[in-house]
Amino acid sequence: MPLITRTPLAWKNLTHDWRRLAVAVAGIGFAVLLMFTQVGFQNALFDSQVKLIDDLEGDVFLVSRAKYTLAAEKRFPIELINQARACPGVLDAFPLYSELTLSRLKNLQQGSSRKAYPIRSIGFHLEDQILRSPEIKAQLPKLRASNTALIDVRSKPENFDFPLEDPQALAAAPAELADRRVTLVGTFDMGADFAHDGNLVMSAENFANYFPQRQAFGDPLAVVDLGIVRVQGGADADAVRDTIDQIVDDQVFVFTRSQFRNQEIKFWDDSTPIGIVFNAGKIIGFVVGMVICYQVIYSDIADHMPEFATLKAMGYSAGYFLRLIVAEALLLSIIGYVPGLAVSAALYGVLADATGLLLRMTPQSMALVLGLTIAMCIASGLLAVRKLLAADPASLF
């Protein structure tokens, strides 16, 4: 690479005027920060949409073909769980029940609004290994009592203003779920999302008591929201999924964990404005960065037009100028990215504390933003290079 052995003109021009460099770095760093906030929030929100999936144990999942998202209350008969359980390679299969429309929690404490707000109720057979949360596992005995439930500490505080820090006060707090008394015997940590303001966890028996209308006739537990399959040790989840898919009735989709997760994120990304909003945010960051980067490179070219024209007269080819500007853009993107990354990481920390969102600086998002930054700088460099290629050495005489 001639840029290393030869006079490093790109580097020299870039770093010659430190004030200009500082402005450039600040601008590109800002664009990097913008993109990081968008990527961070998007990941955090998508992560919260699939938090339930992440909190479930299990390798393969059964969902009704009509259930386009976790929040859609489309169910399938429990017989299919039994079919899946019988499939080769399957260790066990469990049903998971959830209810939102019927599930309204009313706070009856002194001074509260006494209005009922929808909350997601999750029911499961307490002996089934379904939820990963150690908090829930530890409190399983409490859930055996009738009319008990655990409440998510992250449930929307405006709607569910319970004394979550104090277990005694919480258990004493009067509350109604679907117009029946409920005792909140403890808390767990799951998180709200776009569709659900809060969560309750309870035994399948209590669940059936609270929501008998789930099925007009018959056992409310005969229709299942989610089937959770655990494969035998050593078995390949993909292969087992294929087997189940062949054997079990066509009413359900059979997903592996990552398929299920991607399917859910895809719904929020593609079919709701959320993906568009965040992508627009990323594009804005990208464009802002491009404008700044273009401005920096363009003014560098414009200020050195006679010098570049002289190089042209000397016999430097168009290829050299192209490489020069691409190198300059690349350097700019890296010089701008590093402080942008540092500031973003700090901001993630502050925002995570403030909002409770899962803002994480993952290698994927770092790579994504670095890629976007490089692309934005090189694209603006290529736009600006036209000015340079138009330099007319004849104007020098």
Binding site: T7, H16, A309, L311, A313, M314, F397
Partner: protein, 381 residues
């Protein structure tokens, strides 16, 4: 030389023989600016030849087209009409690659220094050395030599910001020369320099021309450096008005001074006469003028020998032999008579000729014309 365009005597074409290698060959070059109705001709039928190792100074008022011609030679403009050969490469219709390759053999010195502020003097000069693919050690030595030679030895690693205008210009000159260009094109290279460093620059030019065969073409209005020119090209209104080999002109002037009629003329008048003279050549045995023919030209022998033969009553008699610096053919012009002798070339000859009208015109300006005329006639019986 029937059929060919007469060549001016002062062009110096014959001084080194016809085949001296040419760095630049311009023929029938026209150039236009603008399009359609606004199209304006900038160069009219320019012809110019520059030999290897020559220093050519182009002069002329601004707008005379000298800069246009210089940019055309420097490949910085596209040739539209005519032919332009630089270092053997025809530029009319040359490809982009040809042009880029040729540019690397040229050295440019612009009126503005155009140095990168971000690079030191050394690095700026090195940009040209790198492009030429010079060996690092060789390049390093040459950069240090040139900068030291131009009085910047102690400022090699300074950035332009800490250099004066003249020093920056000298760095730019070093950049134009570092890659041993075969042809240097310079635009007012000494304009920003004081007399001493200006002189140092042109002395360097002379050394490069002499030692490296580097051809130098510069546009300048700096009269202090006119003396280094081997050739001065004067342009007016897009035409080359005169193209004078300085040394050749002084030779012709010396020769002319020996002609008694011209002896008291000013050097300026003599060089004007020289400008009007044309070149003719002859092979051994060629009859240059024949006795009895009407006289049209005055001849000055640049090189070779001729016999003067007078024919009287059918009897041919060689009356004299003439050599370099001598002249003939004046008597017929002065008296409006036919030739009184036949001149035959003895060896390969080159003559400089002056037409009858120009000859008489010059004579009319000579104060002592009548007296001189008498002397001349008296001495030539």
């Amino acid at each position: 030389m029937p059929g060919t365009k007469p060549i001016p005597a002062t062009s110096g074409v014959f001084t080194d023989g016809r085949q001296a290698p040419k760095s630049i060959k311009v023929s029938k070059l026209n150039h236009y600016f603008g399009e359609g109705e606004l199209r304006k001709q900038a160069l009219y039928d320019n012809n110019l030849e520059v030999k290897r190792g020559e220093i050519v100074i182009m002069t002329g008022p601004s707008g005379s087209g000298k800069t246009t011609l210089l940019t055309l030679i420097g490949t910085l403009r596209t040739v539209q009409e005519g032919s332009l050969k630089v270092l053997g490469q025809e530029l009319h219709g040359a490809t982009r690659d040809d042009v880029v390759r040729l540019r690397r053999e040229l050295g440019f010195i612009f009126q503005a220094h155009n140095l990168f502020e971000s690079l030191t003097a050394y690095q700026n000069v090195n940009m040209a050395a790198e492009l030429a693919g010079m060996d690092r050690k060789v390049a390093n030595d040459r950069i240090e030599y040139l900068l030291a030679r131009l009085g910047l030895g102690h400022r090699i690693h300074y950035k332009p910001k800490s250099l004066s205008g003249g020093q920056k210009q000298r760095v730019a000159i070093a950049r134009g020369l570092v890659h041993q260009p075969k042809l240097v094109l310079a635009d007012e290279p000494t304009a920003a320099l004081d007399e001493k460093s200006g002189r140092e620059v042109v002395t360097l030019f002379q050394e490069l021309a002499r030692d490296e065969g580097c051809t130098i073409v510069m546009v300048t209005h700096d009269n202090r450096i006119l003396d280094v020119a081997d050739r001065i090209v004067n342009m007016v209104d897009g035409r080359i008005r005169s193209d004078v080999a300085v040394h050749e002109t002084s030779v012709i002037c010396e020769f002319l001074r020996q002609f008694p009629l011209f002896a008291d003329l000013q050097t300026s008048t003599l060089s004007e006469v020289a400008d009007k003279m044309m070149v003719e050549d002859a092979e051994p045995g060629d009859v240059v003028i024949r006795q009895g023919d009407p006289g049209e030209l005055f001849y000055l022998i640049r090189s070779g020998h001729v016999d003067v033969i007078v024919e009287h009553d059918g009897d041919k008699k060689k009356v004299a032999e003439l050599g370099e610096g001598q002249y003939f053919g004046e008597a017929a012009l002065l008296r409006d008579e036919p030739r009184n002798a036949t001149i035959v070339a003895r060896s390969k000859c080159v003559f400089y000729t002056l037409g009858k009208a120009d000859f008489k015109d010059v004579l009319a300006r000579s104060k002592s014309f009548v007296e001189e005329l008498r002397t001349v006639l008296a001495s030539r019986t």
